[in-house]
């Protein structure tokens, strides 16, 4: 038997009463223990800062042509497309000028905004819709489950990019429609994932115990089923942002996403593909930007997987 200490007023314990914040505080503490996650977090933070402060960082207007405009050195930019020291007379253009004489550095910087926007928003929408569908299917079961999941199977049967292309074709090209298309293709993933974890959680004894205590179904789903099944969804979501950014770039590359002259990485690649051999820098810099962004989200997602598991807590 454990020693019993009587209730004393002076050692009243401070209760940490906030269910969800507790989980996240723990997760944040843990995440700092995983080097790859820290690197991922740093990359994402830097990208977010760049996106927010794009007008301050960019040296030029991203859609303004520099042809015939003398730079701060007083010289004309030279023949476009060009790189500094390789045809670009004005050294202020860090990544050179594109075929229309626009400053590539500024375009890549501004491109961060649209890429992160598409990544975050499309995945958030997909998670919201997918989790609602998946949890409903898993928790209610029976016919509801069958109907929802068969529809998800149909959506999943299409190749993701083809489905996104057909949705954008119906809605009309544009970054926002590309976002909607991408998010629809991602819904089945999250529906399946959340259904699977709900199925495994709802048979656990602590859920039966909640029934025995008289908890309402809503309370059980929101307080017990969701917190225990959200971890794989968060991890998958973080990894999914990278894929969504890639898909958005692909759609823009095909001319269905961001429309010119909007600075978007896929769109920049698309414009420059004919100059691949004469001016490789035009595809190099936006390509590197996409790679770094996707890498950041993937590293962070892997770290989240470990950090969100309370059984791995060491404090």
């Amino acid at each position: 038997m454990l020693a019993l200490s009587p209730l004393q007023s002076e050692d009243q314990i401070q209760l940490q009463d906030n269910r969800s914040s507790n989980l996240w505080v723990q997760a944040t503490k843990n995440i700092l223990r995983y080097p790859s996650a820290v690197i991922g977090l740093i990359i994402i933070t830097v990208l977010l800062l760049i996106a927010v402060a794009a007008p301050l960082i960019a040296t030029h207007d991203p859609i303004l042509s520099m042809i015939g405009v003398p730079g701060e050195t007083g010289r004309l930019p030279g023949k476009v497309p060009c790189l500094p020291l390789f045809g670009c007379e004005d050294a202020i253009h860090l990544m050179g000028l594109d075929l229309n004489g626009r400053d590539l550095f500024s375009r890549v910087i501004y491109g961060t905004r649209s890429s992160l926007f598409v990544g975050f928003v499309s995945i958030s929408l997909a998670i919201a819709a997918g989790t609602i569908l998946g949890v409903t299917a898993g928790y209610v079961g029976g016919k509801v489950d069958n109907i929802i999941m068969r529809i998800m199977d149909v959506v999943l049967a299409f190749p993701a990019l083809l489905l996104a292309i057909s949705i954008v074709t119906i809605l009309g090209p544009g970054l926002l429609n590309a976002l909607i298309g991408i998010s629809i293709t991602f819904i089945p993933q999250y529906a399946r994932l959340s259904r699977a974890s709900v199925l495994s959680i709802k048979e656990r004894e602590f859920i039966v115990a909640q029934h025995a205590l008289g908890a309402s179904p809503m309370r059980i789903v929101f307080n017990h089923v969701l917190p225990n099944s959200i971890t794989p969804i968060i991890v998958q979501g973080t990894l999914g942002i990278g894929t969504a950014i890639l898909d958005a770039a692909a759609l823009s590359f095909l001319g269905l996403g961001a429309q010119p002259p909007m600075p978007e990485w896929g769109q920049i690649l698309s414009e420059s593909r004919n100059y691949l051999f004469t001016s490789p820098h035009l595809v190099f810099f936006p390509g590197i930007a996409i790679m770094i962004t996707v890498l950041g989200f993937n590293l962070f997602g892997d770290g989240m997987r470990d950090a969100l598991d309370p059984r791995l807590n060491r404090n």
């Binding site: 038997m1 454990l2 020693a3 019993l4 200490s5 209730l7 050692d11 009243q12 314990i13 401070q14 209760l15 940490q16 009463d17 269910r19 507790n22 989980l23 069958n146 068969r150 656990r204 004894e205 602590f206 039966v208 115990a209 909640q210 029934h211 025995a212 205590l213 008289g214 908890a215 309402s216 309370r219 307080n223 017990h224 917190p227 225990n228 309370p310 059984r311 807590n313």
Partner: protein
């Protein structure tokens, strides 16, 4: 222990059949697993009714069906004047304040993401019993009741041992001041040394809070220790229900005799002379129980009658209920 013979819980002809379905999208029922197959008994106020039987005989299903954690196929459960089988939604949740459950595996019966405080205070919040400071005090009082330090409130379940977790689960069940608790093998997942502690704790709490237990177990010696009456279950049916001492000294049903003969005796000389009744074969599938008496496939005494008629679960003497043609 049973000062008055007031009936707290009455189970009448309770059945729980799990359907076996086949087919894709359009499922149709092709059979049923008869986990609980027509069980009737009474639980008296203040007693501990032990429920024993082999794995898979339907003990846990019976306990859960009584508390309406499974929807019964048919039958009635009367508890404090209400028929639990007919209750739904809010009315059912209200009754849950009076009847609670302790689960077998303390590793899975506590939500790993919630603190001890959240676990124990949850029933209080569900039923709007206590809030704020009152709730904190009640949780600490409950922790003291089950022999845990009340400073543990902010810890998570994974920081505790199996025995401590089971104490937390007991505190949660006690939070609503229930009258009746179904203990579903509360000790079988624990170390032997811890088992005694938990059983003693349950007994202390029973005296303190005037609780009634339905104690499900397969450890016969532990059941003998804690129960006032014992029910023996085989393949979804009760075969015998008698006083504890009566059962352990003079079992009536051949299955009970075989079961008791398997209990080792802690004296090598007596143990050597112990005659065991070894049952042949396996328990039949509850999806296809045999015709006649359920036990006829393994019973050493089975007669022709046993293969034709199903024996009734009847009162053979004031204290003994038994389902056997030969008793």
């Amino acid at each position: 222990m049973k000062a008055d013979n007031e009936v707290l819980l009455q189970v009448v002809n309770l059945e729980k059949h799990f359907p076996i379905t086949s087919g894709f999208v359009f499922e149709n029922q092709v059979g049923a697993v008869k986990a609980v197959d027509g069980i009737s008994f009474e639980v008296l106020k203040g007693e501990t009714l032990g429920l024993v039987g082999e794995s898979g005989c339907g003990k846990s299903t019976l306990g859960r069906t009584i508390l309406r954690l499974h929807r019964p196929t048919s039958g009635e459960v009367f508890f404090e004047g209400k028929n639990l089988v007919e209750l739904k939604g809010k009315a059912l949740r209200k009754v849950r304040r009076r009847a609670q459950m302790i689960f077998q595996d303390p590793y899975s019966s506590l939500n790993p993401r919630t603190t001890v405080y959240e676990i124990i205070s949850e029933p209080l919040q569900i039923h709007n019993i206590a809030t704020g400071k009152e709730c904190v005090e009640r949780v600490q009082e409950l922790l003291n009741n089950v022999g845990l330090n009340h400073r543990f409130v902010n810890r998570y379940p994974h920081e505790f041992s199996g025995g401590q977790r089971q104490r937390i689960a007991i505190a949660r069940a006690l939070a609503l001041n229930p009258e009746f608790i179904v203990c579903d093998e509360p000790i079988s997942a624990l170390d032997v040394s811890i088992q005694a502690q938990i059983v003693n704790l349950l007994e202390e709490l029973q005296d303190e809070f005037k609780l009634t237990f339905l104690f499900i177990a397969h450890d016969l010696s532990m059941v003998r220790h804690i129960s006032s009456r014992v029910a023996v279950m085989y393949l979804g049916k009760l075969v015998e229900l008698t006083d504890r001492d009566q059962l352990y000294t003079d079992p009536q049903h051949p299955y009970t005799k075989a079961l008791l003969s398997a209990v080792p005796i802690h004296d090598p000389l007596v143990e050597e002379k112990r005659r065991r009744i070894i049952l042949e074969g396996d328990v039949p599938s509850p999806a296809h129980p045999p015709k006649g008496c359920n036990f006829n496939t393994r019973c050493p005494l089975a007669e022709r009658k046993c293969f034709e008629d199903e024996p009734l679960f009847r009162q053979v003497s004031p204290d003994i209920w038994c389902a056997c043609h030969l008793v």
